[in-house]
């Protein structure tokens, strides 16, 4: 007997999101299908942030008075909550402003290591070394590695994609080899929805001692993620995509790697001892959190994690899976619509990107917007991926805990409306 996950009651969830009550474009119901860009926030998250500011606000780790103690407790408590959410010890969780900063933090460690002195040799990178990404990466997990290669003389290589929108692993044995020092891969694609076999890639990469970075911006919000099971060495994600505030993200890293990693942003609160002519570093995670941190946002993100935990991440994933299946089915039923990405919902999240014959995505998006349906159009910060599929741009719908089958219906009808308007349907 298998235990079914608790079902998610999207109508009940919706009541927690004040913005979903508003109308757009002269009285249309808001159909928000752009959670892949950023999610909406429940009242509980906004309340937690406000409560922090109104009761406990102070600079964390910097004061000896009661407010400072409370603020520090709130901030470190948030770290513990978020760490538990991904199955990690709190000391392995570094707060960043977003996924992008987290990935840059790791990338800069590899170039800073050259001059960082003893203890940081593990991260030194140079000509002859290889950094491997994939052709489906978000710019946030591509450009930092291009730049790292530029700074160090290392070579960037990448996994190609299959026509279906999966990683083509057929060349993996050649691609990952003794020269490989870093492998950076999206856990879930923000365009194709594809969930990548991070563990399989990590197993091979680890044979050569390479460091494996998973871009989890689109997975941690949508799937149960356990860092031990995933098998990567670093994991980066953003609060704003998982019901949390803007301005906060997380970098998880294995303790032994964090300890061997030179700092990125330097300044207050990340130091050991400071002299005019030399400075030593604090232990992780403080080493990577220079300056007064985003305490209120950490507290807000912990509230978001509590909210998701109460729903159950299995239930969240199952809910999205159902909407994805339904969306793929409805879109398959419309002539002239081509989905870019896997057509079946196995190992696939809820990003559904598509092109409509004869109508540019901007125009599709405009007609949808006119009906209150918020989607994203363009290359979604994955320009090489779009080139690979010979699309200048796509229209993308993404689903989350507050979306319903009615939202999928609205999308399908909206596409029909666009086809009628432009005379192609």
């Amino acid at each position: 007997m298998t235990v079914l996950p608790r079902a998610l009651d999207a109508e009940k969830v919706r009541a927690d999101f004040p913005i979903l009550d508003r109308t757009v474009r002269d009285g249309r119901r808001l159909v928000y299908l752009d959670s892949g860009a950023t999610s909406q926030k429940p009242r509980q998250v906004l309340d937690a942030e406000r409560e922090f500011y109104q009761r406990h606000n102070a600079a964390v780790h910097r004061g000896a008075h009661q407010l400072a103690e409370e603020a520090t407790d709130a901030y470190e408590g948030a770290r513990a909550t978020i760490a538990a959410f991904i199955g990690a010890p709190p000391g392995e969780v570094v707060f960043t402003k977003n996924t992008t900063e987290g990935i840059n933090l790791v990338a800069y460690a590899f170039s800073n290591a050259a001059t960082a002195g003893p203890g940081f040799e593990r991260f030194v990178l140079g000509p002859g070394d290889e950094v491997v990404v994939t052709e489906m990466e978000h710019h946030g997990n591509l450009v930092p590695w291009q730049e790292l290669c530029r700074r160090t003389g290392a070579t960037l290589r990448w996994f190609p994609l299959t026509d279906e929108g999966r990683l083509d692993l057929s060349g993996m044995d050649e691609l990952l080899n003794e020269r490989t020092k870093v492998v950076a891969v999206a856990h879930q694609s923000n365009v194709l929805g594809t969930v990548n076999p991070v563990r399989r890639i990590a197993e091979r990469a680890h044979r050569f001692g390479a460091v494996v970075v998973a871009d989890a911006a689109q997975s941690v919000p949508h799937l149960p993620v356990d860092v031990t099971e995933l098998g990567a060495d670093f994991l980066a994600f953003s609060g704003h995509k998982m019901l949390g505030p803007t301005g906060i993200g997380v970098l998880w890293g294995r303790a032994e790697l964090l300890a061997a990693m030179p700092p990125f942003i330097t300044g207050g609160s990340m130091i050991g001892v400071v002299h005019m002519d030399h400075t030593t570093w604090a232990e992780p995670p403080q080493r990577f959190e220079a300056g007064v941190p985003m305490a209120a946002q950490a507290v807000g993100l912990a509230a978001a994690v509590d909210y998701l935990t109460a729903l159950g991440m299995d239930a969240v994933a199952a809910h999205e899976h159902e909407l994805t299946c339904y969306a793929l089915e409805r879109l398959a039923g419309i002539d002239g619509v081509r989905v870019v990405g896997p057509l079946d919902a196995e190992a696939r999240g809820s990003a559904v990107s598509f092109v409509v014959d004869g109508i540019h995505p901007h125009d599709v998006g405009q007609v949808l917007d006119d009906q209150g349906i918020a989607v994203r159009v363009g290359h979604h910060c994955a320009w090489p991926l779009h080139r690979r599929f010979a699309a200048v741009a796509t229209t993308r719908a993404t689903f989350y805990v507050y979306n319903t089958r009615a939202d999928v219906d609205a999308l399908a009808e909206g596409i029909g409306q666009a086809q009628r308007f432009f005379g192609t349907g």
Binding site: R25, D26, H360, P361, H362, D363, Q366, V367, D370, V377, G378, H379, W383, H386, V392, A393, F421, F422
Partner: protein, 160 residues
């Protein structure tokens, strides 16, 4: 439905039957402009006759990938620019740019802008303004390069 306010018939006509489309010889300068937020592209060639602001715009030809607004705008731009002097063209471009930045409040001068007045509604949609301006930016760039005869700049990808 406010869609019609944006997609005026004139725009849809130009989109379906663009004027002066296709890259032609002879030309002085070709530029390649890209809208970084959506990936839309235009390759645009300019052929001038003469020097400075009095030079005559002999031809503007282009090839583009993009939405209805950017395609129609390119078509309308060539209608307005071919045959003018550079100074006249720059004035029209400035007028059109002002209209696009008017947030729906502009009162376009039909004598100057002709079919381009149809884009007034686009200015209400900030995300589309760049689409409408893409080929105008490309024309201004190509013209400036031709007049200053900067040989390097011509083929690189430019971001508008």
């Amino acid at each position: 439905m406010k869609l019609e306010a944006m997609y005026q018939e004139i725009i849809l006509d130009h989109y379906r039957n663009p004027h002066h489309k296709g890259l032609r010889e002879p030309y002085d300068t070709e530029v390649h402009h890209i809208n970084p937020t959506c990936g839309d592209e235009v390759r645009l060639r300019v052929k001038l006759d003469g020097a400075g602001g009095d030079a005559r715009v002999v031809d503007v030809s282009y090839d583009s990938l993009g939405c209805s607004i950017s395609q129609a705008s390119a078509s309308v731009a060539t209608d307005l620019l071919i045959g003018r002097t550079v100074d006249e063209g720059m004035r029209i471009a400035a007028e059109f740019t002002a209209l696009m930045q008017s947030k729906g409040e502009g009162e376009p001068d039909e004598d100057v802008l002709e079919d381009a007045v149809a884009f007034a509604g686009v200015s209400r949609y900030p995300a589309r303004i760049k689409c409408a301006l893409l080929s105008w930016m490309a024309w201004k760039d190509a013209t400036a390069q031709t007049l200053s005869a900067d040989p390097n700049a011509s083929m690189e990808e430019r971001v508008s």
